[in-house]
């Protein structure tokens, strides 16, 4: 009797060069999504529902918020999570619909440049913001500024 060796049906395929990037992207969308619901709903409630709503928004309103470290951290987290979440979403959409390699590559480059620009810009604004700029008209400044 001759024995034939048959490979086990579920022997692992070779996964050389493969990474779990897409798995982490998928997981990030879900985890960041939960955080963003809290961050964005809080942002919308405070800026659009409380008090005068949209009519209360001006430089003094923003300066008053960012005088509180809580809102600085809130807005910084919201900026980073929303931009990365949105950029990854748009990346998926581009991958789905842009069939030509060159078009797909350039659209994603444009997306990444726009995302990096806005994330860096927003971060710099939050960290270098001056609520009481010296040359500004006093009546436009928050009440805690000297001379306002």
């Amino acid at each position: 009797m001759t024995t034939t060796t048959i490979a086990a049906p579920r022997s692992p395929r070779r996964l050389r060069g493969r990474t779990n990037t897409e798995l982490y992207a998928w997981l990030f969308m879900r985890v960041s999504g939960v955080f963003l619901i809290v961050l964005v709903f809080g942002h919308l409630f405070v800026n659009l529902m409380v008090g005068e709503g949209i009519n209360a928004l001006d430089f003094a309103f923003v300066a008053g918020k960012w005088a509180d470290p809580l809102w600085q951290v809130w807005d910084l987290l919201m900026l980073w999570l929303a931009m990365i979440h949105g950029t990854n979403g748009l990346r998926t959409v581009i991958n789905d619909y842009a069939e030509r390699d060159q078009v797909r590559m350039w659209l994603k480059m444009l997306l990444y440049v726009a995302a990096a620009f806005t994330i860096i810009l927003g971060t710099l604004v939050i960290f270098t913001f001056d609520p009481c700029p010296a040359e500004a008209a006093a009546e436009l400044l928050p009440s805690f500024c000297p001379g306002a």
Binding site: R30, G33, L48, G53, D58, G86, T118, T128, P133, L140
Partner: protein, 125 residues
């Protein structure tokens, strides 16, 4: 070999349309976000320039666009929770239709008070 009848179209019903709506709202929110970060960055230029751009947010037409924006965000948020439940809850796929109805109910529960409040700000001055 039987040929597929002409003119067939994929009919994914609730699952497909919620997927489409999730994409469309997501893309819309993303482009608003780009604009919103740049306009907020004007606080770093001067109080005058920031107040000037934020004044456009208080006009009637943009006030109504904010309703569309918030409607899109609220749908995307609750449908996102539905997607998480479909992925992680063992009974999620079975109840995805019912959960979409839940998304609609939660959407209404948040949108009605928001509409009343926001429109009174937009039209009340």
């Amino acid at each position: 070999m039987p040929k597929a009848p002409a003119g067939t179209i994929y009919r994914g019903r609730e699952g497909m349309w919620s997927w489409v709506a999730h994409r469309v709202t997501g893309i819309g929110i993303f482009f608003f976000l780009l604009v919103h970060i740049v306009d907020t960055a004007l606080v770093r230029v001067s109080p005058e320039s920031y107040n000037e751009v934020i004044a456009t947010y208080k006009t009637t037409i943009v006030g109504l666009m904010e309703v569309l924006l918030v409607a899109a965000i609220v749908f995307h948020a609750f449908n996102g929770l539905r997607i998480i439940l479909v992925d992680f809850w063992s009974k999620g796929p079975r109840y995805q239709r019912q959960m979409l109805a839940g998304v609609g109910i939660l959407w209404l529960v948040l949108m009605v008070p928001f509409l009343v409040r926001h429109l009174s700000h937009v039209f009340g001055g």
